[in-house]
Amino acid sequence: MKKIIRNTIVLAGILASASAFSADYPSKNIRLVVPFGAGGGTDSVGRTLANSAKDILGTNISVMNRTGGSGAVGMSYGAQQRGDGYTLTVVTREIASLPQMGLMQHTANDFKLIRMVNLDPAVVLVNKDSKFNNINDLIQEAKANPGKVKFASTAAPNFYLIALQKDQGIQLNAIPYNGSSEAIPSVLGGHTAVTMVTPGEAISQLRSGQLKALGVMSKERISYIPNVPTLIEQGVNVTSGTWRGIGAPKSTPDEIIVTLGNAFDQAMASDEFKTFMAKGAMTIHNMNAAEFTQFVKDDTQSLGALIK
């Protein structure tokens, strides 16, 4: 612990001298707007990242939960703040989907995106006693009985499912639950047949074998669940998942974005953050500002295709 503190102090020193030209930023506390409630996945990633970054930046980062509208309230709030680098926002995939559904006025263009933090694929999960053993079993059943297979959806609409439905021309009976903490028990209790969540949300059930994974919706296998094949391996060319990153209001000066970007690079590379993410079975996916901006643009387009 002491070592970490000493290291970060040294790092902070290096950083402070390197970015001396960008005035004396930061000179006061930074607020990090989290658009979801205290205690959720987005909140804990935000808090841990803030905790790791605060020593690097040499200032306190206080987390501000601003919930509502599936993230719309918090992200809109963050977009409207002064662009002085003292209000940052955790942006989530909802910034790409909600505006296209007419549920949010602000878009990713209202932010200067700083870094992507994590990118996690969805995993298709069924009860351990389920008759489905791979994704094709599920697709066969859905084709034979359209609209009959009960799907525990973590959100309405659920883009993981829609991606699969559109690609395979199938229809499941999607029942909207309030997040994975309701959807998982529903599958465990046998009330619904299948759900899709990120690995981190179901890691304890996957480890204990209460849930069976039919496939992961990424291009390559995930290190946390190496035995689970991708859908692509099973001949179903669908990928889907969710991501989180950090953004600042559009008007924030570029020097500050650079300073923050460097700080978050180090925070994401810190032992504390890496352990936290690994334990929670979440995949750190550091993308720089330009890559992240392009990524969000592409994802917005692919979501647009699903919505229409």
Partner: protein, 150 residues
């Protein structure tokens, strides 16, 4: 005879009617999720109608009972009106000045309005405001409202 036991139910009925007229205007979002046979409009409609029926029943009941003449203390006294104004002024002040300064100002205004002369009250009030400020911002690290000016 207009008393509150008649005015209030009628007011609720009027409000309910307005709400009822709003329900058909619910707009369906761009991506329309599948919905149950009982849709988004069902619950509000049932509730508004139930509310109107209850209010009518209240009116009937009032008429049937023939209440003894009520001692009519007004709905809002001078003090409760002051309290309401105080709340609104305080909220606006927070928006302008931030929590700390707004609270100190509002507390002073309150005690002055009530013509308190005890210095200890003022000191206690200021101590309390600062203590809460410290507790939130430094112990719990919860950000308190910042004003536009400060």
């Amino acid at each position: 005879m207009l008393n509150r036991n008649i005015v209030f139910p009628i007011l609720i009925i009027v409000i309910s009617a307005v709400i009822l007229s709003l329900i058909p205007q619910f707009t369906v979002p761009v991506y329309y999720q599948q919905d149950a046979s009982v849709g988004a409009k069902f619950f509000p409609t049932v509730l508004v109608i139930a509310q109107i029926i209850i209010c009518i029943a209240l009116l009937v009941q009032h008429r049937a009972k023939k209440h003894k003449a009520q001692e009519s203390d007004g709905l809002f006294s001078k003090m409760s009106f002051f309290g309401l104004c105080f709340l609104v002024v305080y909220a606006v002040l927070i928006g302008l000045l931030g929590y700390l300064i707004a609270s100190l100002t509002a507390f002073t205004l309150y005690l002055a309005y009530l013509k308190t002369k005890k210095l200890s009250y003022y000191l206690f009030a200021y101590f309390f405001v600062v203590a809460i400020y410290y507790l939130f911002s430094h112990v719990f690290v919860i950000s308190l409202p910042e004003g536009i000016i400060f």
